[in-house]
């Protein structure tokens, strides 16, 4: 630790003194002459014996609140002919003079500084050995928008924003259960990022909240800029490409996870909220499944399972069949493929890898470009290059179709982060099946399965409820059963009963009365 740090820690550990000048000097030393630090001087009740100062960060604090503070301390004080001497403690001033929603005495310099840098206003008054910390957070926020990475047709349109309080309010509005808890903690020595752990006390899996807190406490890092930092520091399988922590921008997803007995981790300054424990199959499920009728929900879920399989194995299977197992292709199809490949100078594996990489380039370029140009990139990339590459005989039309279908399938997976994981798995599968055929494909796929089965996420098997097989959870696995049939929560929840008996609507019989 540097000497500057040591000195800072020493200053922070001190308490406020009754001398205003001393206190102001300490604040000046700690905060320096930062351009955004504002100090507003005042006289308590208009009395020049009791000078004071308001410290706040310009831009973080709401000026109208600061005006209210000043009004209370100067104007109300003198209007009411209060004698400053009659209010000897900060507590007294808070209770008798202040009109702000949240104002509390503050003895430690550390607390005062923490309050100022997070947007609160610190009021120092001559003669008091405590300061008054008034909540005055009020900065410009992004408005609530629909999350662009998680679209759905039916369902709420609101998404999380960068403000942690707005985000927790979204969830509180959905679950008006008094047992919904938000436990606060701070991570990051320099960023001092607020983190809230949300759970419903009588539903959450036993021991889960303690485990989450334990893992968060373990983190010693200077900065948390996004929930991805936390995710990587608390996940169970840090080396695995699979993500064992679900992340979402949708409040309805978080609410439903909490109601299943899981824990959500809110991180300030990011709209992405983490949910643990996580199961692999959740990445295939979309909120639409539950908002549309169950026939539709089940059908589209099946489509997404198909997309999962295609996006993982289709190029590998094509490469494997075309370069090793020609006898497995129906004759007419074999001839069509052979005729398309007649002039292609590359082996099919190389052709597949080339096209996959070309597509990844296009995807990445389209993502990074400014939006209007991004469209042009995708048109040039997909249409023109695709067409020209086939016409020039560089790639076969079949390969273009295979890669295009694969990519479309990977976009059909609702969770973008997990579709990225599948994208990474595609390459070893592709190379194995292009060099060893079915044998290589089976080996790598088997290794992949073993790996996925070995992972746990916060004490729960990653592949559950498929393995270990949980009969009652199957109602929401391959198919989405009707709401009136899903009368149990997942097995790890404390209280698994979630609805009354016989919830299936019955025909109203037309009897009198």
């Amino acid at each position: 630790m540097s000497t500057a740090q040591e000195k800072l820690q020493e200053q922070l550990a001190a308490s406020f003194t009754p001398q205003l000048a001393d206190n102001a000097a300490v604040l000046d030393q700690i905060l320096g002459k930062s351009a955004d630090m504002q100090q507003r001087e005042l006289k308590l009740c208009g009395s020049s014996e009791y000078p004071g100062v308001c410290c706040f960060v310009d831009g973080l604090a709401d000026t109208s609140i600061i005006e209210a503070i000043l009004k209370a301390l100067i104007v109300f004080g003198s209007d009411l002919h209060r004698d400053p001497a009659a209010m000897p403690t900060a507590e007294e001033i808070c209770t008798t003079l202040m009109v702000n929603a949240s104002a509390k005495p503050c003895r430690q310099v550390r607390d005062g500084i923490a309050g100022i840098v997070s947007g609160d206003t610190l009021v120092l008054i001559q003669g008091l050995d405590e300061a008054i910390l008034v909540s005055s957070k009020g900065w410009k926020d992004r408005s609530i928008e629909e999350p662009s990475s998680e679209n759905n047709v039916r369902g709420p349109r609101d998404g999380f924003t960068e403000s942690i309080r707005t985000n927790t309010a979204h969830v509180r509005r959905r679950i008006k259960d008094p047992l919904l808890r938000f436990d606060a903690t701070v991570v990051g020595t320099r960023t001092q990022t607020d983190i809230n752990i949300a759970y419903i006390q009588d539903l959450v899996k036993e021991g889960l909240v303690e485990e989450v807190k334990r893992r968060l406490k373990r983190i010693k890092i200077d900065a948390i800029l996004e929930s991805g930092y936390i995710e990587e520091l608390i996940e169970d399988a840090p080396l695995s490409p699979f993500n064992t922590v679900q992340s979402t921008e949708r409040p309805d997803k978080v609410a439903s996870a909490l109601l299943e007995g899981r824990v959500a981790i809110f991180i300030d300054n990011t709209p992405v909220v983490l949910i643990v424990p996580t199961f692999f199959w959740q990445f295939i499920q979309a909120p639409d499944d539950y908002y549309n009728r169950y026939w539709v929900g089940s059908f589209f879920r099946c489509v997404r399972y198909l997309a999962l399989i295609i996006s993982l194995v289709l190029p590998s299977i094509y490469v494997m069949l075309v370069s090793f197992h020609h006898e497995m292709i129906p004759t007419s199809l074999a001839l069509t493929i052979a005729s398309g490949r007649e002039v292609v100078p590359f082996p099919v594996l190389l052709e597949a890898i080339m096209l996959e990489i070309a597509f990844e380039l296009m995807r990445e370029a389209g993502l990074r470009m400014p939006k209007p140009i991004g469209q042009a990139v995708s048109i040039v990339g997909s249409l023109i290059i695709g067409q020209a590459a086939v016409a020039a005989g560089l790639v076969s039309p079949f390969m273009v179709i295979v890669v295009a279908i694969t990519e479309i399938s990977s976009f059909a997976i609702p969770s973008y982060s997990s579709s990225l994981a599948l994208r990474i798995f595609r390459f070893p599968l592709l190379i194995a099946s292009g060099t060893f055929g079915l044998l290589g494909f089976a080996t790598v796929f088997f290794a992949l399965m073993l790996h996925a089965l070995s992972i746990r996420s916060f004490g729960e098997s990653y592949m559950a409820p498929a393995s270990p097989f949980r009969p009652s959870d199957q109602r929401d696995m391959l198919l989405r059963m009707p709401i009136w049939m899903m009368n149990d929560r997942p097995e790890f929840a404390q209280d698994t009963k979630r609805m009354g008996e016989q919830q299936m609507p019955t025909q109203q019989t037309r009897k009198g009365g």
């Binding site: 075309v322 370069s323 090793f324 020609h326 006898e327 292709i329 004759t331 007419s332 074999a334 001839l335 069509t336 493929i337 052979a338 005729s339 398309g340 490949r341 007649e342 002039v343 292609v344 082996p347 099919v348 086939v390 016409a391 020039a392 005989g393 076969s396 039309p397 060099t435 060893f436 055929g437 044998l439 290589g440 080996t443 290794a447």
Partner: protein, 395 residues
């Protein structure tokens, strides 16, 4: 970490030791769709001719221009002292590795078949690349000609012949023989093989020169070749092949043309839902077979110009029965008295009912079969005249 690395290295070593590394691009293969077997020019040699697909021409322009000649197939032949030797010699001519898994048809020369097909059955069932659903046929023509003829509507001629076999029950004039049932009959002690007969006939009409009728040769599927052991013993005509199909493939329907009772005209009768039942019996150490064919029938074309009344119907039924009986009789006669070969699978039926007696009889079954008494009974019922019961005549 060390263990994981060790595991990966072990897996890679294991995989590379399996010798499954057979990477071949599909466009580097010469895909064979029909193969002809015949006797070579030199005595003791075998001539193999292969019909190989030119994918670019067989599938038109998919993708980049590929410079085709317009011909969908490329046919080559080679000779060798054994089938495998001859096939390897194909490699002297073919620029691509000859690939057999998509083969549709094996055509044998009559002379080759008469010398014995033991080698051929062995080779085509032993090789892992070859499939058991490949059609097998015998031709009186040269197999290289059959193989290199562009025939049928299909772009790939081998596929066209395969379709002929698939639809053989429509015409009902040749058995749908493939490697599977050839080997089955070949290995069985109770039956003998019988293969379809294909022949080149000038049936195609050229679009450019229609006046030269039948200038294009086409492959015709009709008739059969009967075998005793592994040697071909003789042909079965198309009529006998129909009788054969009742035994081998439970032929259910077909057309027979009979004379009108009143004039010189003819009427066509379509028999449907035909069922052949063979009942073996064993008395006085002599096997006996009762063959009973029951069928329904419709009159589908009538040139008789009379109402189809009860009398006409009975008359037509009798004639149809005679026709069908003569079909069956003729093939039984050929099998028993001409070729002395039980390719009708009557031995199978007998063995299933009398397994104990079969043990004694199987040693000399073909002779026992030749002497066996076979009663043929046909019962036909004409159900309708389709949409008309009156005759068609100008009033």
């Amino acid at each position: 970490m060390k263990r994981a690395a060790g595991l990966v290295i072990t897996l890679i070593i294991l995989l590379s030791q399996t010798s499954c590394f057979g990477l071949r691009q599909i466009n580097e293969l010469a895909i064979v769709t029909a193969v002809g077997l015949g006797l070579g020019d030199k005595p003791g040699t075998i001539k193999v001719s292969a019909q190989i697909i030119r994918p670019a021409d067989a599938r038109g322009q998919t993708g980049a221009p590929s410079g085709g000649t317009g011909q969908p197939i490329y046919s080559i032949s080679a000779e060798g002292t054994s089938i495998f030797d001859a096939i390897r010699n194909l490699g002297r001519v073919s620029s691509r590795r000859v690939y057999w898994a998509h083969n549709f048809l094996i055509v044998m020369d009559e002379d080759y078949a008469r010398k014995g097909i033991k080698d051929m059955v062995d080779f085509f069932t032993r090789n892992h690349e070859l499939r058991m659903n490949t059609r097998v046929a015998v031709t009186p023509d040269l197999p290289d000609q059959v193989v290199s003829t562009i025939t049928g509507l299909e772009v790939v001629p081998g596929e066209a012949v395969d379709r002929l076999f698939q639809n053989n029950h429509v015409v009902g004039r040749a058995p749908a023989s493939d490697m599977m049932n050839l080997e089955e009959a070949f290995l069985s002690s109770s039956t003998e093989p019988v293969l379809a007969r294909v022949q080149l006939k000038p049936r195609g009409i050229s679009n450019k020169k229609p006046e030269e009728h039948g200038s294009l040769k086409q492959v015709e599927l009709g008739g059969a070749a009967a075998f005793l052991g592994d040697k071909m013993v003789g042909w079965l005509s198309v009529k006998e092949a129909r009788g054969l199909l009742f035994f081998l493939e439970k032929l259910g329907s077909g057309i027979e043309v009979v004379k009108c009772p009143n004039n010189d005209g003819v009427m066509s009768i379509e028999f449907k839902r035909a069922r052949l039942k063979v009942t073996p019996s064993y008395a006085n150490k002599e096997p006996k077979f009762g063959v009973r064919l029951t069928t329904e029938a419709d009159i589908v074309e009538s040139g008789c110009a009379i109402h189809l009344d009860e009398g006409i119907r009975q008359d037509a039924e009798e004639k149809l029965e005679q026709r069908l009986k003569s079909n069956i009789d003729s093939v039984i006669d050929k099998a028993q008295h001409r070729y002395h070969s039980d390719f009708l699978k009557l031995g199978d039926v007998f063995r299933n009912k009398y397994p104990e007696e079969w043990r004694v009889l199987k040693r000399d079954w073909n002779r026992t079969f030749s002497d066996a008494k076979i009663d043929v009974e046909v019962e036909a019922t004409i159900k309708s005249g389709v949409l008309k019961s009156v005759g068609t005549e100008i009033r």
